[in-house]
Symmetry: C2
Subunit: 241 residues, 2 copies
Amino acid sequence: MAQRSAVTRRAPLSRDRVLRAAVTRADAAGIGSINMRGLAQELGVVPMALYKHVAGKDELLDGMVDLVIGEFEPPAAGPDWKSEVRRRVLSARRAVLRHPWARLAIESRTRRTPAVLGYMDSLAGAFLAGGFSAHLTHHVMHALGNRIWGFTPELFDAPPDADAPAPDPEARAAMAREFAERYPHILQIATAATDGDLSRVGDGCDEQFEFEFALDLLLDGFDRLRVAGWTPGSARSTGSA
Amino acid sequence: MAQRSAVTRRAPLSRDRVLRAAVTRADAAGIGSINMRGLAQELGVVPMALYKHVAGKDELLDGMVDLVIGEFEPPAAGPDWKSEVRRRVLSARRAVLRHPWARLAIESRTRRTPAVLGYMDSLAGAFLAGGFSAHLTHHVMHALGNRIWGFTPELFDAPPDADAPAPDPEARAAMAREFAERYPHILQIATAATDGDLSRVGDGCDEQFEFEFALDLLLDGFDRLRVAGWTPGSARSTGSA
DNA sequence: ACGGTAGGTGTACGGTGTACACCTGTCAAG
DNA sequence: CTTGACAGGTGTACACCGTACACCTACCGT
């Protein structure tokens, strides 16, 4: 009775509980909210206790990314290599979109955990099973780059920029005029992308479309190389002029 | 005499001197060595003095990236859009390779400085002048992604890993065996990439080749879309199955 | 002669990751 | 039942970071 206190004991920590708490916290408050003190407090524990379960913050981040990778759809025997790769990459994308912090975390991580290697291995396997040579598989994976994780490196999107207290329509118009003069080509494609309604320019692009556009462009290019029997010695990398 | 001390006065700081010192320091010791205290000491000044010339660390990083962008070859009227885009992107790549920290800095920066916008604008201009519609220009720039900066997001390369005090050939062989069993496809492409000499697997890929491979693959794909008269309504993004 | 100001100083605060010594409850072996 | 190892939680402390704020000081145009 004295020992087994009636008060419910805190469930003992575990690496898994720590990682899941971190993922939940990051989902809610962003990757910037992940720090040992805050995470420990959330778990009702002193900061240093976490170090019994994760080696340090780096390993914590790695573990969080691994949890996200665990949400990817598993490999399967698709009808053809292209739809299988497409399915898996878009599945990765859905998982990363569920955990918006994962993009930054993946980009900043450098360690190749077993989960990371396993995913890359299964993707490579899809190419190889689809008739790609090992050499070509190597290069096309490089060509995909971070797209295998389901995101394109941001190009145009800027954060909403929580400054500029008063949008002052006069100054705003002047800025727009200066922008149009200095960056006419960006203006031109932004106008096209928003169907002429430039007030929507802050809404960002249709990321999903952009992602699939580039993904399919690459996949189609890969297929052309494969059917053309690409070998390491082919003239120029893609065999064209 | 008392005022104009014979001792040579330190040349007054300036935003430019601060940024150049930071770039030099980062070139020599990596982006991790950039901190206000160390940089100030190098300039023979107290940390807070820097804040008279840069708003804070973020703006410092932005300014450093701008200096690198300043090293890019300027736009020119090339014989065709493809060689012009190719020239500029490969020029960006050379600059980024001269400043290895720039890759990380560019990836982590979110602000679009005039230098960044100017570069993106001139690239967009090359596509538009080459006959791309504004819509298509928008999408192909997304497809290029960070490749416009001259680098592919790292996929395979891991840092040399300064741990593992003794490479212990026995354990090393065991690890290799386990790796081969768990990640057979990665092994297969690594074997191809090193022409069978797996001891070279740590040397990394031929980054230059990988970069141009993917760049040309994308550029060729872009050209196919352009000559096919791609419009926003085309079936699927790339017009193929 | 004087006042404003650009530029450099000094101190201090709140935040971070984590090394290290310590305690404590559990459980298996003696 | 005793004991001792050990996994897991604690408390303190340190070094480092960015930077807010008040200050001082030398210059320069009036």
